[in-house]
Symmetry: C2
Subunit: 299 residues, 2 copies
């Protein structure tokens, strides 16, 4: 068995990025952290941490980090079976941390209430594009992920959550300036500034292909924030694909308009969960699926 305090030191270094912050987080001295890491690395016989700013895990370090998180979840499972949860109202210091990959738009539209409904777990979110969040699971860096990918990752199960609906939207002034008479064509779309979340975001390009066929060369602002994306559209900086949940009021009040009425783009979302902790995460899975069902369109 690995020493739990050594595993906790490893997890804290990786989560906080430095020995100093890890020491602070665990309430021990920095030399205690160093000693624990040295002991753990001697036992494993290989470096676990790349001492950079921030500290990063070696492949072996990543595997042990994963193991330490799973241990916490397994222990919570035992506590639950023994009736020790809830009744004892354990301190937050005993809660396991669950590392998840989630797409930014899920986080902005429905995922926070889902997390909030799950007690006695600390969440550590990795935010990435829905087309790439499953990569984190494949690399073993998270225990579960929300992804647009429908095929299960190796060693993982996959449950459908629903479709997140996007509308190509802009402010009335922006439409008047760049899409005179509402004409959406290869020419107007190539000329009007678009909004793009980041290099992984191809929703604007996909919608443009849908609307006018191939051949559009988008010029774009780049801003990786779901709410800033909506605000940038409201302020007339560009047009972008916004989740309906974030723009319902603005649409109803006429502050945003669809570029082409009734041409939504739906992104399917799936919950992927590692089989090694599937049983422990069953209550989490149930609540995530239930919350998604309230907000997303059925798949």
């Amino acid at each position: 068995m690995f020493d739990p305090s050594q595993l906790a030191a490893l997890a804290a270094i990786l989560r906080h990025g430095s020995f100093e912050r890890a020491a602070f987080a665990l309430g021990v001295t920095q030399s205690a952290i160093s000693q624990r890491m040295r002991a753990l690395e001697e036992q494993v016989g290989t470096p676990l941490i790349i001492r950079a700013q921030p500290c990063e895990a070696t492949e072996a370090g990543r595997r042990l980090f994963q193991h330490s998180e799973e241990l916490r979840l397994l222990e919570q499972d035992v506590r639950r079976d023994l009736g020790l949860l809830g009744a004892m109202a354990p301190r937050a210091t005993d809660w396991p941390t669950l590392r998840l990959a989630v797409n930014a738009d899920s986080l902005a539209t429905w995922f926070v209430p889902a997390m909030a409904s799950i007690d006695q777990v600390l969440f550590d979110l990795v935010i990435d594009d829905q087309d790439h969040s499953a990569d984190w699971l494949r690399r073993g860096e998270v225990r579960a992920a929300i992804s647009s990918m429908s095929e299960p990752v190796r060693g993982c199960d996959c449950v459908a959550l629903g479709r997140l609906r996007y509308l190509a939207t802009a402010s009335p002034a922006f439409r008047a300036r760049w899409f005179a008479d509402g004409v959406v064509s290869v020419e107007t779309l190539s000329d009007a500034p678009a909004l793009t979340f980041n290099a992984k975001d191809d929703l604007q390009r996909r919608w443009a292909d849908m609307a006018v066929g191939h051949g559009v060369t988008l010029r774009s602002h780049w801003l990786a924030s779901s709410t800033a994306f909506v605000e940038a559209a409201l302020c007339g900086m560009g047009w972008g694909m916004n989740p309906v949940q974030l723009i319902a009021d603005a649409l109803a009040e006429g502050r945003l308009e669809e570029l082409v009425p009734d041409l939504p783009l739906d992104v399917p979302l799936y919950w992927h969960v590692s089989r090694s902790v599937k049983r422990q995460l069953a209550p989490v899975t149930d609540l995530v699926v239930a919350h998604a069902g309230k907000v997303l369109l059925p798949l």
Copy 2:
């Protein structure tokens, strides 16, 4: 002189992450992109791009990318001086792209209207912690940055923007559960789940030091989104340092409460701009300073 179409190919590859997407963005074939990059690398005599997923710049590539952005800004400056801007309403395809580092909370509170007030520029935002955004400028990867650092980066100028005020806040139910009778002490703070943006975010720890002195070991959820941070506080997941601008309504309506009344934490913010494009960015600097002045507290 470098060939502008070769520089454009380099910039597109770095911005979009792959040769394929760069070709798509520029409306040329992928082999045209490859040829341009080969020609540019032959001319410079060193690799400019690390062909990975996503493609990354070598040091020389980063320098040339910076050069290509500066060229665009200089050209726009000439157009402005010649009276060719505005009057001609140039197509967005002629707009320069301005790469900036901005902290997430500025983006969530005041920076979008500032950007929207600046016409004929495409923004490419790098979002990072206010204590680390200046690093991007130091590495030459952005032309300007919003940072909490008051000393100018080498080769850059620095203007004060104001103070962003944060309040330690949580929902009433959360306070009742974790801070019975409102007692904020080393014990209650060590026990109650906190919210942390990411490993670089030390606002919660700094506030805890201010409130009860050293010795608090925070247990935390990790979620790197300003608005999800507020929503997580509203939903009772944890307490966190939230910018006053994002929580004014929730505070007024009693959906959020301060953990300790009248104990704000103010973060000073500065606009750093590279001197190589200082003149070209003067109108941007003026508008950013003016917008910040409307929302931030004076420094």
